[in-house]
Amino acid sequence: MADAMFVGLSILTIGSAIISLESKELLYGGIALAVSLLGIAGFFVILDAPFVAMFQIAVYVGAVAVLVIFTVMLVRSPNTVTKRETVKRKISGIILSLAFLALFGAFIGNSAVSQFSFSDAVPAVDIKEIGRELLTYYSPVLIVLAFTLAGAIIGALALARREDIEEKNEPAK
């Protein structure tokens, strides 16, 4: 059975995930997204993965959620309040998500996954082992990932650049 910590974290995560989509103000949605990502980091701590939890907090809560909140602030106010959705679309969305949930629940209930269990006998994954994997077998992946991140950041900067104010900043000839 699930313990109290797990139940609390799941209520926090799922509740703030719903709030992040359903809140009227987009700014509160961004903050609720940060709380939900923190809840996922808590799940990682429960699963004996403190390094991944730290990475999650640093990248998701520290960068992604803050980036979303900054974008909310860049966009003018009438756009940050949700317009009314059509009821038909809302109902079909709820039906689709419930159908997915039922399908996935049937998969979990009927497969051997429900008989798996975490054993306390085997020790949790050591952080040193993760570092060794990252720097030996997966080191090409790490390098490619670094270039991907750099390329994405440069691409985002180039996309968001404004061409119309460029002439003003150039020195007079």
Partner: protein, 100 residues
Amino acid sequence: MNQPSDFLIIAAVLISIGIYGIVVKRNALRLIISIELIANAVNLVIVAFSRMLPNPQGQVFVLFSIAISAAEVAVGLGIMIIAYRFYKDIDVTEYKNLKN
């Protein structure tokens, strides 16, 4: 003690919330939030199985996945900002240049 299927159910609920957001919401920022929720649910499943086996490679893949989705969000928000500059709106139904 928690079982792996508990974490799978939590991940399934998060994915279905994300699907609901993608289907219903038309605000570009909400779509990005939904995509983030789905990506996080997948990471949760991978870490749960990595704890069960136990195998460090699952956690290594989750680290890669987190970095990739950070890059994806940066590009997505950059595209959204220029779209806002063109259309003065972040509602995706207003972006009609690619239609027809």
